[in-house]
C-alpha cells in the first residue's frame, strides 16, 4: 500500500501533479490513522514514520522525461565543439564579408589611383584597351556589390540555421539537471548565440542601408558596423584581400604597388576560403 500511494518501490504514475498530491495525502492519511488507531495497530505508527521519511517521489512520466533529456544531452555534448567551431568560422566569414560590403576600402582607392598613374606614364606606348577597364565600367561595380551582397545573404541564412541549432542546444542544456562542464558549454553557446544575433543585425542593417544608396558613390559604413570593424582588425585585412581577389578575377589585377600589401595582408590573416570562393564564383558568372 505504501508503494502504491507513496512510490516507495517504483515511481508513481502520471499525471505529475496528481502524483505529488497523492503522496502528500498519503502522508497525512497515515498520520491520521496512526494517531486514531495506532494504539490498536502498531504497524500504522511504523508506516506513518516510514511515510514521513520517504523523499518526494517523481512520477513515471517525469522520470522518463529526465532520462530522455539526459540521453539527448549525452548525444549532444560530443557534437557541440564542432558546432561551436563552425559557428565561429562562419561569424568570421560574415564579418569579413560585411566589412567588404560596407564601404570601398582605402586600399581599393589607392589601387585605382596608382593604376591611373602607371597608365598615364605609358600612355603613348600602350595600345588602347579593347575591353574597357572594369573599374570604369558602370555595371561592374554594381555586379561586384551584388555578388558580395548575395554572399552576405547566404552567410546570413547559414547563421540563422546555426542559431536555431544553438537555441535547441541552449534549451536542452538549461533543462538538464547535471552534466560534466554543462555551465561552461552553456556559457559558450549563449555567447555564440548573442554574437550571431549581433552579426545578423549588423548584416541586415548594412543590406537595408546599401539598397537605398547609389552604387557609384562610396558608401559610408553604417554606425552599427563601425565598432565591429574597429573591434576586429583582421576583418579589414580580410576585406582588402577579398578586393584584391575580386580585381584579379575580373581581369583587372592589383597594381604592383599594392600587390605586396595584399600579400602581406594574406600572410597575417587566416581567411575563410568559402566566402571568398563564393564571391569570386558569382562575380565571374556575372561578368560572363
Amino acid at each position: 500500500m505504501l508503494a502504491c500511494t507513496l512510490g516507495t518501490s517504483r515511481p508513481l504514475p502520471k499525471p505529475q501533479r496528481a502524483a505529488e498530491r497523492l503522496q502528500e495525502l498519503s502522508r497525512s492519511t497515515f498520520a491520521t490513522w496512526a494517531s486514531e488507531f495506532g494504539a490498536h495497530y502498531t504497524q500504522l505508527v511504523v508506516a506513518h514514520h516510514l511515510a514521513a521519511e520517504q523523499p518526494p517521489a517523481r512520477s513515471v512520466e517525469a522520470a522518463r522525461a529526465d532520462a530522455h533529456l539526459q540521453s539527448r544531452y549525452e548525444s549532444l555534448v560530443p557534437q557541440l565543439p564542432a558546432l561551436f567551431s563552425s559557428v565561429r568560422s562562419k561569424l568570421a566569414q560574415l564579418d569579413a564579408t560585411v566589412a567588404l560590403l560596407c564601404s570601398r576600402s582605402p586600399l581599393d582607392a589607392d589601387a585605382d589611383e596608382e593604376w591611373v598613374d602607371v597608365g598615364r606614364d605609358d600612355v603613348d606606348d600602350v595600345e588602347p584597351p579593347t575591353v574597357p577597364a572594369a573599374s570604369s565600367a558602370p555595371g561592374t561595380d554594381a555586379a561586384e556589390k551584388a555578388a558580395v551582397r548575395d554572399a552576405v545573404q547566404d552567410s546570413m541564412a547559414e547563421m540563422r540555421r546555426d542559431a536555431m541549432l544553438l537555441d535547441d542546444a541552449i534549451a536542452l542544456l538549461t533543462r538538464v539537471q547535471s552534466g560534466a562542464a554543462r555551465g561552461e558549454v552553456l556559457r559558450d553557446a549563449i555567447g555564440l548565440k548573442s554574437a550571431i544575433s549581433t552579426a545578423l543585425k549588423t548584416a541586415r542593417a548594412l543590406l537595408s542601408g546599401g539598397d537605398t544608396k547609389g552604387d557609384d558613390q562610396p558608401q559610408p559604413a553604417p554606425a552599427v558596423v563601425a565598432p565591429v570593424r574597429h573591434a576586429v582588425p583582421r576583418v579589414a585585412d580580410a576585406a582588402h584581400h577579398h578586393i584584391a581577389v575580386l580585381q584579379t578575377a575580373r581581369g583587372n589585377g592589383p597594381s604592383h604597388a599594392t600587390a605586396p600589401k595584399a600579400r602581406q595582408s594574406r600572410g597575417n590573416v587566416k581567411r575563410p576560403p568559402s566566402v571568398r570562393d563564393r564571391i569570386v564564383k558569382k562575380l565571374v558568372r556575372r561578368m560572363m
Binding site: M1, C4, T5, P13, A18, T32, W33, E36, Q43, V46
Partner: protein, 103 residues
Amino acid sequence: MSEDVAQTIIELTPPKHGEDLDPELLGLLKAALRPGSAETTHAATAAVVSRLRFADSRTRLRALLLCNWLFLRSRGVRELLVPLLPVRVSRVLRLALHADSSD
C-alpha cells in the same frame, strides 16, 4: 452484492481531477456495508486496493480518499487493510518489540 460493491467503488474512483467523492455513491456503499457481511467487506477492500494500484495517480488519489473513508468507519476494513502494509513494516515492528522485551 459483492459485484455491486466493486462496481460502486470503480464508479467512485474515475481517473478525473478533483478530490470529491460522489455522496450518492458513498451512501450506496455505506448501505451495502452496514449489515457487516464479511464477503462484502472483503469485496470492498479488494476493490479499493485494486484501485490503489491503478496506473493513474488521479484514480489512486480518489481510491486513497475512499480507503480513508472506509478505514475510519469500518473495523472489518481496518482488519483487512493493516496486514496489507509492507512486510518489512511488520518485520521492523517485530524486531523493535523483540528488542523492547529483551531490555
